[in-house]
C-alpha cells in the first residue's frame, strides 16, 4: 500500500481549513495546516508536502503572494505543486492583474468559494504528475 499523499493548507480561516481537511482526509490524504505564511513556510520545510493549498489574504492582504515567493526559493519546495485559493479578486476589485498573466508562480489559481469536486480533481492531477519547476522565469509553463 502506497504512502498517503501529504497536503499542507496555509489559510487563516479555521472553517475553511476544517472543510478542506475533511475533504482531503476522506480522499486518503494526510493533512496539516498553518494559519499564516510564516508558520506555513516553516511547516512546509519540515513536513515536505506533496501539495500546498495557499490562501493570499491572511495577516496581510498580500501575504500569500510573498509566501509563495519564499516557497519557490526553498530548494526542497521549489517544485512542490501549489494551488492558490483566494478571494482577493472579489475583495480587491482594483487588483485586475489576471493570475493567468504569468506573474504568479503557482500551478493553479482557484477563486473562493472553491468547488470541492474541481479542487480534488486538480489536486490529484498535480500530485500524480511529475512536478515541473515553477518560478517567475518559468511562469509561462504554469498549469491551467
Amino acid at each position: 500500500m502506497s504512502e498517503p499523499k501529504k497536503v499542507l493548507i496555509i489559510d487563516d480561516d479555521p472553517d475553511f481549513v476544517s472543510a478542506l481537511e475533511a475533504l482531503f482526509n476522506s480522499s486518503g490524504c494526510e493533512v496539516r495546516s498553518a494559519v499564516n505564511g510564516k508558520d506555513g513556510l516553516v511547516l512546509a520545510k519540515s513536513y515536505g508536502p506533496d501539495l500546498i493549498l495557499l490562501d493570499v489574504m491572511m495577516t496581510e492582504r498580500t501575504e500569500g503572494f510573498f509566501t509563495l515567493q519564499e516557497i519557490r526559493r526553498s530548494p526542497g519546495l521549489a517544485r512542490t505543486p501549489v494551488i492558490v485559493i483566494s478571494s482577493i479578486y472579489a475583495e480587491q476589485p482594483i487588483f485586475r492583474v489576471s493570475p493567468e498573466a504569468g506573474w504568479l508562480p503557482a500551478n493553479l489559481f482557484l477563486p473562493k468559494p472553491v468547488d470541492p469536486g474541481r479542487l480534488l480533481e486538480e489536486a490529484r492531477r498535480l500530485m500524480e504528475t511529475a512536478p515541473a519547476q515553477v518560478g517567475p522565469s518559468a511562469s509561462g509553463r504554469r498549469e491551467r
Binding site: G37, R61, T62, E63, T67, Q69, E70, F95, W103, P136
Partner: protein, 352 residues
C-alpha cells in the same frame, strides 16, 4: 518621460506582481539598521529608511564572488550564468542610483568592461523611492539628490499617492503589467511634487562646497590634517565597504586539495588596508595610515574628477555614520578648506 501615479494603499498589491520581473529585494530592518533583503511579507518593508548599511552595489559587485572554476580535465568554466538571475531592487534612494550610475562608468562604459558587472546590471530592475535627508545626507551638495537615469521606475511621495516616473522600457512593462493599479496624475499632483521637491532641497542640514575643491586638495596635499586623520583612522575599511562607489577588489585563486581544480575568487578590497598597496618584495606605496586615508579622499574628490568629470562621492553619509573613529567627511573637507580650525571629534559610529 512617462509619469503615472499609484495610490499608496495599493503599493502592496503593486509589489506583489514585481517578482514576475525578478527576486524582490527591499529595505527591511536588521537590528538598528536597514538592509536590502527579501521581505517575507510586505509589512517588513521599511520605505522610510534613512539609508541602508550597505548600498545596493552589493548586488552588482558581490562582496565575494567566484568568477570562474577550473579543472585540469575540463578546463575553465565561467559563472556568468549565475550573474544573470533577475532581481528587483525596490525603494532605492537617488544617491544610491547615482552611485550605480558611477559604477557603470567604471565597469560598463570604461576601457575594461566587466562582463559580470554588466550581466548583473542588466538583470537588475531598479525601483527608486524618494527620501527625506537626515543630518548626515549631503547628496544635494554632490548633485546626487535626484537622478534622471539609471532606474526603471522612480516613486515620489505626493501625499495620498506616489508619482511614478518611468525610466526605461522595462519600467513601462511593469506599468503595463500592473493594470488598473496605476492612474493618470493630475495637475495638483505635479504641484505637490514641486512643492515637496523644493522643501526637500531646502531641508539638507549637511552641505559642502564642491567648487574648486580639487584645486584646494591640490594645494593642501601636504597639510598636517592628513596626519591628524591618519592617527585617528583605524584602517578598518568600513568606509569603503559601505561606500556606494568604492569598487576596489582583490583576486585570489582557491585551489582544491590535489591541485587539480579550483576557483578564482573576486572579493572586496579597501585602499585603507595595509595590504592594498603592498607589492612583491615587501614594498608598500602607502605604508602609513595617513597616506592611505589621504589617498581615499583624493581618489574620491580629485582623481575621479579628472577621470570622469565629477567626484565619485554621492553624499549618502554612510562613511561618516559607520566610522568607529568618528571621521566625518564634511568636517574633513571644511577643515581642508580652512572653514574649520580643527577636526571636530565626531561621535563614533558602529562598524558596518
Amino acid at each position: 518621460m512617462k509619469i503615472c501615479k499609484i495610490p499608496k494603499i495599493n503599493l502592496d498589491l503593486f509589489a506583489s506582481i514585481l517578482p514576475a520581473f525578478g527576486e524582490l529585494y527591499a529595505p527591511v530592518r536588521r537590528g538598528k539598521g536597514f538592509v536590502f533583503d527579501r521581505p517575507a511579507r510586505w509589512s517588513e518593508v521599511q520605505l522610510n529608511y534613512p539609508r541602508t548599511i550597505l548600498p545596493p552595489k552589493k548586488f552588482l559587485l558581490p562582496p565575494r564572488e567566484t568568477t570562474f572554476k577550473f579543472d585540469s580535465s575540463e578546463g575553465y568554466r565561467d559563472t556568468l550564468a549565475e550573474a544573470t538571475k533577475p532581481i528587483v531592487l525596490f525603494g532605492v534612494h537617488a544617491y544610491d542610483i547615482f552611485g550605480m550610475n558611477i559604477l557603470d562608468r567604471v565597469f560598463a562604459e570604461g576601457k575594461y568592461k566587466d562582463p559580470y558587472y554588466i550581466a548583473r546590471r542588466k538583470s537588475t530592475t531598479i525601483i527608486g523611492y524618494d527620501f527625506e535627508p537626515d543630518e548626515k545626507h549631503f547628496a544635494y551638495s554632490m548633485n546626487a539628490d535626484f537622478v534622471d537615469s539609471g532606474f526603471d521606475l522612480l516613486l515620489s511621495d505626493v501625499g495620498e499617492d506616489y508619482l511614478v516616473l518611468v525610466g526605461t522600457s522595462r519600467g513601462d512593462d511593469i506599468i503595463l503589467k500592473s493594470g488598473c493599479l496605476m492612474q493618470e496624475p493630475a495637475e495638483a499632483d505635479f504641484a505637490e511634487y514641486k512643492r515637496r521637491s523644493s522643501q526637500r532641497r531646502a531641508s539638507y542640514k549637511s552641505r559642502i562646497e564642491l567648487g574648486d575643491l580639487p584645486e584646494i586638495l591640490e594645494m593642501e596635499y601636504h597639510s598636517e590634517v592628513w596626519q591628524e586623520i591618519g592617527e585617528r583612522c583605524l584602517s578598518c575599511g568600513s568606509c569603503s565597504a559601505v561606500c556606494p562607489t568604492c569598487y576596489c577588489f582583490d583576486i585570489s585563486d582557491e585551489v582544491e586539495l590535489g591541485s587539480l581544480s579550483g576557483s578564482r575568487i573576486r572579493s572586496w578590497d579597501s585602499c585603507l588596508f595595509r595590504s592594498h598597496a603592498l607589492v612583491a618584495g615587501g614594498e608598500n606605496f602607502r605604508d602609513s595610515r595617513a597616506s592611505r586615508i589621504k589617498y581615499r579622499f583624493y581618489h574620491k574628490q580629485r582623481g575621479f574628477v579628472a577621470e570622469y568629470g565629477r567626484p565619485s562621492c554621492v553624499g549618502c553619509g554612510r562613511c561618516a555614520e559607520c566610522c568607529p573613529a568618528g571621521i566625518d567627511i564634511i568636517n574633513v573637507i571644511e577643515t581642508i578648506r580652512g572653514e574649520r580650525n580643527e577636526l571636530r571629534n565626531g561621535s563614533a559610529g558602529a562598524p558596518a
